[in-house]
Structure formats: structure tokens, C-alpha cells
């Protein structure tokens, strides 16, 4: 028994070593497209939210660009630019605005990524209260604060989101069931 176990153990060790080497080699040869970063994923999610949500006619007039704005810390950074560059949503060219505060934005955005702290976030949400802006955050209780979509990471390390459906409806945003079925629905009733 003991004699046969030893080569098996040794083989497993060799396998692990090989896997490590391979992973390293993969990372070295630009496996970034294969294994996107968290913010690349979140940037892609933002784009998908844009495509799976309907804005009121008045909020997205023909010829008007579709504005994605980042307030506060620009956690998304270049990933957002890479994902959204040259894209269009519902026939509207997509533009990205970055600002420290909502007041600094030249127009009201359609999607607003809130990268501020909790206090600032509450202020930003209040600023766009009742307005057709899909607010996205990544802090615990964002939905309860009046935000619509909030990213979180599961125990397996997967990025998931919760959606405050009442908030979205209250602002005239109609989110696709395709999104809703993937989300954890949160938020108090209005």
C-alpha cells in the first residue's frame, strides 16, 4: 500500500507545479481578455444595465447622447473607457463623464456610478432623487439608501448585484426581467 501511494502523491505534486507554471505563463502572455478584472466586469455590467433598461421618452430624446457618469473615486478607471468606447445604447451614442460632484456634470446622466463614500453617496442620491437616473453603487445598503443597483461580491468571489425595483419604477425606469431575475431584489416599499 505504502509503496503504491508514494508515486501518486508525487504525481499530484507535479500536477500542481505544472498548473502554477501554466497560469503564470498565461498571465505573462496577456490572458487579461480571458480573465477580466473586477472593474472590467463592472464596466460591462454597466453597459448591460444600460441596454436592458428603458428610460422615459423625455429623459432620452432623439439625437441626445447616452451619458454614463462616474462621481467620486473613479474605481472603474480605464476599464470603463475600454468597455464603453464607441458603443451606443438604444441608438444613442454613449459618452462618459467623470466629476467629483453631480453639480459638476454638464448634463443629467442616464447611468450614474457612485464611487464616493457613504455620506457623499446619500447626497448624490438625494440630488437625483425622483429623476430618471439609474444609480449604481458598490456599498452595503446602497439600495436602502435610495440607490437602484448595488454591486456585491459573493463568497465564491463572483460579482453580483441587488436592485431596488421600487426605486427604479419610481423614477420611470423599466428594467428588463432578464436583469431582475439575476438580481437580488431589495429596498423598502415607497
Amino acid at each position: 500500500m505504502s509503496r503504491s501511494r508514494r508515486p501518486a502523491l508525487r504525481l499530484r505534486a507535479v500536477g500542481r507545479l505544472l498548473a502554477v507554471v501554466l497560469l503564470a505563463a498565461r498571465a505573462a502572455t496577456g490572458a487579461e481578455a480571458q480573465k477580466p478584472t473586477e472593474y472590467e466586469v463592472k464596466s460591462a455590467f454597466l453597459f448591460h444595465f444600460a441596454r436592458l433598461t428603458e428610460w422615459p421618452q423625455a429623459a432620452l430624446a432623439p439625437g441626445q447622447p447616452f451619458v454614463v457618469a462616474v462621481i467620486g473615486h473613479d474605481a472603474l478607471g480605464g476599464a470603463l473607457d475600454r468597455v464603453l468606447e464607441g458603443q451606443a445604447v438604444h441608438g444613442h451614442p454613449l459618452v462618459i463623464r467623470r466629476a467629483a460632484a453631480p453639480e459638476a456634470l454638464p448634463e443629467r446622466p442616464h447611468i450614474l456610478f457612485v464611487g464616493t463614500d457613504r455620506q457623499e453617496a446619500a447626497r448624490v442620491l438625494r440630488h437625483y432623487r425622483e429623476q430618471p437616473v439609474l444609480t449604481v453603487g458598490e456599498m452595503e445598503g446602497f439600495g436602502e439608501m435610495g440607490g437602484i443597483v448595488n454591486f456585491f461580491v459573493t463568497a465564491e468571489g463572483r460579482i453580483r448585484f441587488e436592485i431596488n425595483v421600487r426605486q427604479a419604477e419610481a423614477r420611470g425606469l423599466r428594467m428588463s426581467s432578464q436583469v431582475l431575475k439575476l438580481a437580488r431584489i431589495v429596498g423598502p416599499g415607497p
Binding site: 481578455a33 463572483r158 432578464q178 439575476l182
Partner: protein, 657 residues
């Protein structure tokens, strides 16, 4: 014979029906299977395709938001589709994103999307359909859904179809056997009827047999056509039989004609022989007596006898010649009558008178019964007398000594009837129809007892018919005599005509040498005239003559005292010359057997000569014979008799020296 044939037809019909239905069934099953497979595949493809579309739609957001659990639950929805064994969703990076397996044994999907399944594809394997559909959102490719659906359900269904087909085939087989039995009745019965009819026709040659009809349709047509064929065969057969009968009839006719011609030819030949004989016989007497008279030295009694004989024979010859001329006239149609009122009783009386002497000489009694009132007729007196004379002389000729001839002339109704009846030898029934034919004599052999040409009755009939009358011969057969009945129509005028008389005779002479002194000659000759003449001639030549009137008498004389030379006639009643010489040549005594002999006959043809020599004569002398020739021949034979006879020199001419 018919049972196996019936079976065969039945079996063939069964085979045909089963084969036809089997092939049809096989084709139907094949077509159905193909159609079903196609249809099933089509439906399955449609169904799975729809499922895949739904999955693709529902899984799009899962891919967009990288949510494999959601995708997995979307795939789990496929459990409602029973044929789906497994399914998988691959991301845009072609890596396995989510999967579904109906059962653990369904096999794990590939970790990476096979290139063959990229995009919208589908393929049927032996037991499954593998289908892929792209997942995308608003033109953005997100991944691929792959569904593997089992087709085993279809295989099971096909198995049940096959079982069903087998069951149906068995049923069809049973139906086919039943149908074949029915068809056998409808088909083989008319065919067997045809075969039976054909056999009857070929075995019995009965072309009237007909096959029983099979109603309308091909078989009915076949039977009808067969019957029509028999009709035409029947007609042809009858036509053939008819032709054969006609040919046979023609052949018989021809054969009869040929026999008739042959008979006529033979009759003519015989007639010619007879004619020659009849002309030569009287000529013999005339020439012989004439030569004796010419030599002179005859006593007055002999001279008178000679002249009487010459006269008789010349008259007989004239009558013969006239008969021949008459026949010639009859044949050429030149015989003409000099019609005038005639006294028929006078004519009959004249004929009777003319022949009375001959009858008395022969010892034949003549009875005459003439109805003088039966006279008034028109006719040719000479020809009517010829008719009478011919019938009377015929009757006397064929009546033996002591017999009688009865002549009667009567007027029964509106005609005159002449009956001549004799008590002679009569006529054989088979010869009765021929008595009036030319050249026909009941006895035409060389042994005949009666001379004549056989023309008399032919002339009688012709003359009577020229007078508008009829002549008939009756006889109760041989030995019962014969009757000849002439019926002549009566004429209005009554006139008398004198009877016809005969012709005169002239004499001819010949020199007579004297060189047969001491030679003993036996003369065998039935004809008294000839016998007398020969006796006179030979006596005059110095020979010692013994005479015999028949072969039997000659033989007796020979036995008594053998002569030096024999002179024998050939044609004699009873036994002829040929027979006589053969008997002599067969005698035990060499002296008598070698007796030199000469045949003396009126038959002068080459074949008669050869027959005489072959029979045993050394010489053949034809009548009439001249005294000089007779002397030379007898002298030659007498010299020969001193030595042995010389059969090696059968020449007919006188030998040299």
C-alpha cells in the same frame, strides 16, 4: 394430371399475390420509415431548436452578467422536453458556462465549445441530435447553447412500426391466399377448359368442340379467340376433306376413263385380229379352188363344187366388206336411208328365204309367223332386209343342230314388232348390255366356235334407230336361248318393195406342181371349206391326205397312224392348234413327238407367227395359202421328217434345196 396443374396455378397465383403485396408493403414500410424518420427529425429539430432559442434568450442576461447559476436554472427548464439528454452553455470565450444533464450517465459536456458547434448548427448522430444556437444580445455574441437530444424514441417507434408491418404482412398473406383461391376459380377454370378442348381437338380431330366461355375480360377474349380459331380450323378441315373427296372422285373418273380407253383399245385390237381372220378364211377357199380350177383336170362334179364354194365365199366376203363399210359410214355419220313405203312382211319373208337353205343345212328348224296387216311403215327396204338377215343369220349361227329359230312379225299397238327367238346358247347376263356394241363378241378367244366380225348387231341397232325404232336383246342366260325384239313406228303409206339379193363371184387360178407323191399328210381344220380345199390341193400334189375336223380327231388319227407331215389350223373350237402341237411334242413316242408340223392360220401377225413357233410348229403359213407354197413347205417338212426334227432352224420360209 389436372390436379397438380391446378395446384400449380393456385400456387403461382398465391406467389404472385403475396409477392405483389409483399413488395408493396415493403415499399410502403420503407417509404413510411423514411418519411417518419424525416418527419420525426424535422419535428425534433423544430422542437429542440425552439428550446435552444428560448434558452439562448433566457441565458443571454446570465452570460451578460456572468451568472452561471441562472444559466443552469435556465437549462434545467429543458427537463420538460423528454428527449433532451444534456445541454450546455458556452461563453463568448467558448468555455463551458453552464450545463444540464438529465441523468448521470448522460456524459459530461466538453469544457470548450467544439469548433463544429460554433454558431447555429445541428447534426444527427446514430442516436441523438446535437444542436447549437448562438446566444447574443442586440447583435453582441454572448455565447452558444448546445443541446443533445436523444432520437431513441424514434427508434422505438420504428420498431413498433416494423412489428405492425409484419402483422399486416401476415394478414395480407392470408388475404392473398384467399384471393388466389378466388382467382384460381376465375382464371384457371377457363384455362383448364381451354386445355381440355385443345386436347379433345388434337386427339379426336373433332373441330366442332368448343371451350366454355369465361365471360368478359381477357380470359373471355382468350376463350372466344380460341373458339374462333377452332371455327376457322373446322372450316379449313372441311374444305380439305371436300378437296380430298373431289380429288378422289376425279381420280376415279380418270381411272374409269383410262380403263374404258384401255378396253376400247383392246377391243379394237381383237377386232383387227378377227377382221383379218374373217377376211382370210373365205379368201382361202376362193384362192385355193381358183388355183385348182386354173390347173384344169377337174372332174365335172368337183368343178361344180369348186365354183359353188368360190361363189359362197366370195358372197360372204362381200357381206363382210359391206358390213365394214356400213360401220365406217355409221361412225362417220354418212349412212343415209332411202325412205319409201315398204312391205315389211315381204322383206322378212325374203330374208327367211335367203337363209332357209343355210338353216336346213345346219339342221335348224325355222318357224315364221307373219302378220300381213303389220305392214304400213316407211323405211329403207334394203336396210330393213339387212336388219332381218343379220338377226336371222345370227340366230342360226348360235343355234346348234336340231334347234329352232322363231320369227314373228306383229303389230301390238301403234308400232310394228319383229321378234327373232332362238333356242341357242343364249347370252350371259353380264354381256347382255354389250351385245349391240361394235367389235364386241362374247367370245373373242382363239378357241371361239363362231366366225364373224361382231358387227352385225351394232349395224342392226343403228339401222333400227335410224328408222326411229328400238331393238332389244333378251336372254334368260346361257343355254336358255336369246330373243331380239325390233320395234318400228308405223307409217301412213303402204307400198310393196322387192327383197334385196346378193352379189356374184369371180374365179382366180393358180399353177399346181406334182411333187408330194408318197407323202402322208394329216390336215386338222375345223372349217369344212378350208379342210376340203386343202385336201383337194394336197391330193392334187400327189400327197396321201387324212383330214380331221378338230384337235381331238387329229390326235386320234395321229395315234392310229402317224403321218409324215401335220398341217394344223390354230383357231379351232374346243382345243386350239397350240394345244395340239404341245400335246404332240409331249408324246412318249419319239417318232410321233418329232412329227414335222406347220401351222396354217388366218392370224398373220408377227406375234401369231412367234406364238406358233414357240408352241412347237416348224412353219407358220398364213391363209390364204397358194398351192405352190403349200407344196414347198410340205415337201420340206417331209424331207425333214426322215431325220430328226430341227428346232434350231425355225425359219418360216421354205428351206433351200
Amino acid at each position: 394430371m389436372s390436379a397438380p396443374r391446378r395446384l400449380t396455378i393456385r400456387w403461382k397465383l398465391t406467389q404472385a399475390t403475396v409477392a405483389a403485396s409483399g413488395i408493396a408493403l415493403a415499399l410502403v414500410i420503407l417509404a413510411f420509415t423514411i418519411y417518419e424518420t424525416r418527419r420525426f427529425e424535422e419535428v425534433l429539430l423544430q422542437r429542440i431548436s425552439a428550446e435552444a432559442e428560448i434558452v439562448a434568450l433566457n441565458a443571454a442576461s446570465a452570460l451578460m452578467f456572468r451568472d452561471p447559476e441562472s444559466a443552469t436554472s435556465t437549462l434545467a427548464g429543458l427537463s420538460a422536453e423528454r428527449s433532451v439528454r444534456a445541454a450546455a452553455i458556452y461563453g463568448a470565450d467558448r468555455r463551458l458556462f453552464a450545463q444540464y444533464r438529465r441523468a448521470a450517465d448522460a456524459g459530461a459536456p466538453e469544457e470548450e465549445l467544439p469548433a463544429a458547434l460554433a454558431g447555429s448548427r445541428h447534426a444527427f448522430t446514430s442516436d441523438a441530435l446535437v444542436l447549437s444556437r448562438p446566444i447574443g444580445f442586440q447583435g453582441t455574441p454572448l455565447g452558444t447553447v448546445v443541446i443533445r437530444a436523444a432520437t431513441t424514441e424514434q427508434a422505438a417507434r420504428l420498431r413498433s412500426y416494423t412489428a405492425l408491418a409484419a402483422a399486416v404482412s401476415l394478414g395480407a398473406f392470408a388475404v392473398a391466399v384467399l384471393l388466389a383461391a378466388g382467382m384460381h376459380r376465375a382464371i384457371s377454370r377457363p384455362i383448364l377448359s381451354l386445355a381440355d378442348t385443345a386436347r379433345v381437338v388434337s386427339e379426336k380431330k373433332d373441330y366442332s368442340a368448343r371451350a366454355v366461355g369465361a365471360g368478359p375480360g381477357e380470359l373471355g377474349l382468350l376463350v372466344a379467340t380460341f373458339n374462333e380459331m377452332l371455327d376457322s380450323l373446322h372450316q379449313r378441315d372441311e374444305a380439305l376433306q371436300d378437296t380430298r373427296r373431289r380429288l378422289e372422285a376425279t381420280l376415279e373418273e380418270r381411272t374409269a376413263l383410262y380403263r374404258e380407253a384401255e378396253q376400247a383399245n383392246r377391243v379394237k385390237d381383237e377386232f383387227l385380229a378377227t377382221l383379218s381372220h374373217e377376211l382370210r378364211t373365205p379368201m382361202n377357199a376362193i384362192v385355193g379352188w381358183t388355183s385348182l380350177l386354173a390347173a384344169g383336170n377337174l372332174d365335172p362334179e368337183t368343178t361344180a363344187r369348186a365354183i359353188a364354194s368360190i361363189d359362197r365365199n366370195a358372197k360372204a366376203q362381200v357381206r363382210l366388206i359391206e358390213d365394214i363399210l356400213d360401220v365406217s359410214r355409221i361412225v362417220s355419220g354418212k349412212l343415209r336411208l332411202k325412205i319409201q313405203p315398204v312391205d315389211l312382211p315381204a322383206i322378212v319373208e325374203a330374208a327367211v328365204d335367203a337363209l332357209r337353205h343355210a338353216a336346213e343345212a345346219k339342221g335348224v328348224r325355222l318357224q315364221v309367223m307373219l302378220d300381213q296387216e303389220a305392214a304400213p311403215i316407211n323405211g329403207d327396204a334394203d336396210r330393213l332386209q339387212q336388219v332381218c338377215w343379220n338377226l336371222l343369220s345370227n340366230a342360226i349361227k348360235f343355234t346348234p343342230r336340231g334347234g329352232r329359230v322363231y320369227v314373228e312379225l306383229s303389230r301390238p299397238n301403234s308400232h310394228v314388232e319383229l321378234l327373232v327367238r332362238d333356242s341357242g346358247q343364249g347370252i350371259k347376263p353380264e354381256f347382255l348390255p354389250h351385245v349391240f356394241e361394235r367389235f364386241r363378241q362374247a367370245d373373242s378367244s382363239s378357241t371361239r366356235a363362231h366366225g364373224g366380225l361382231g358387227l352385225g348387231l351394232a349395224i342392226v341397232r343403228h339401222l333400227v334407230e335410224l328408222h326411229g325404232g328400238t331393238v332389244e336383246a333378251r336372254s334368260d342366260g346361257e343355254g336358255h336361248g336369246a330373243s331380239f325384239v325390233v320395234q318400228l313406228p308405223m307409217g301412213p303409206v303402204r307400198a310393196a318393195a322387192p327383197a334385196r339379193t346378193g352379189a356374184a363371184a369371180r374365179l382366180a387360178g393358180a399353177p399346181v406342181p406334182d411333187e408330194l407323191t408318197g407323202v402322208r399328210v394329216l390336215v386338222v381344220e375345223d372349217d369344212a371349206e378350208s379342210r376340203e380345199l386343202l385336201e383337194s390341193m394336197l391330193t392334187r400334189l400327189g400327197a396321201e391326205v387324212e383330214v380331221a375336223a378338230s384337235a381331238a380327231e387329229g390326235m386320234a388319227a395321229l395315234e392310229r397312224r402317224p403321218p409324215h407331215v401335220l398341217l394344223s389350223d390354230i383357231e379351232m373350237p374346243g382345243e386350239d392348234g397350240y394345244s395340239l402341237i404341245r400335246r404332240i411334242r409331249a408324246l412318249p413316242s419319239a417318232e410321233r413327238a418329232r412329227l414335222p408340223a406347220a401351222a396354217l392360220t388366218a392370224y398373220a401377225r408377227t406375234e401369231d407367227r412367234i406364238a406358233a413357233l414357240a408352241a412347237g410348229f416348224q412353219f407358220h403359213l398364213s391363209k390364204p395359202v397358194a398351192a405352190s407354197e403349200l407344196a414347198a413347205v410340205v415337201a420340206s417338212l417331209a424331207r425333214r421328217g426322215t431325220g430328226p426334227p430341227a428346232p434350231s432352224n425355225p425359219g418360216s420360209g421354205p428351206p433351200a434345196g
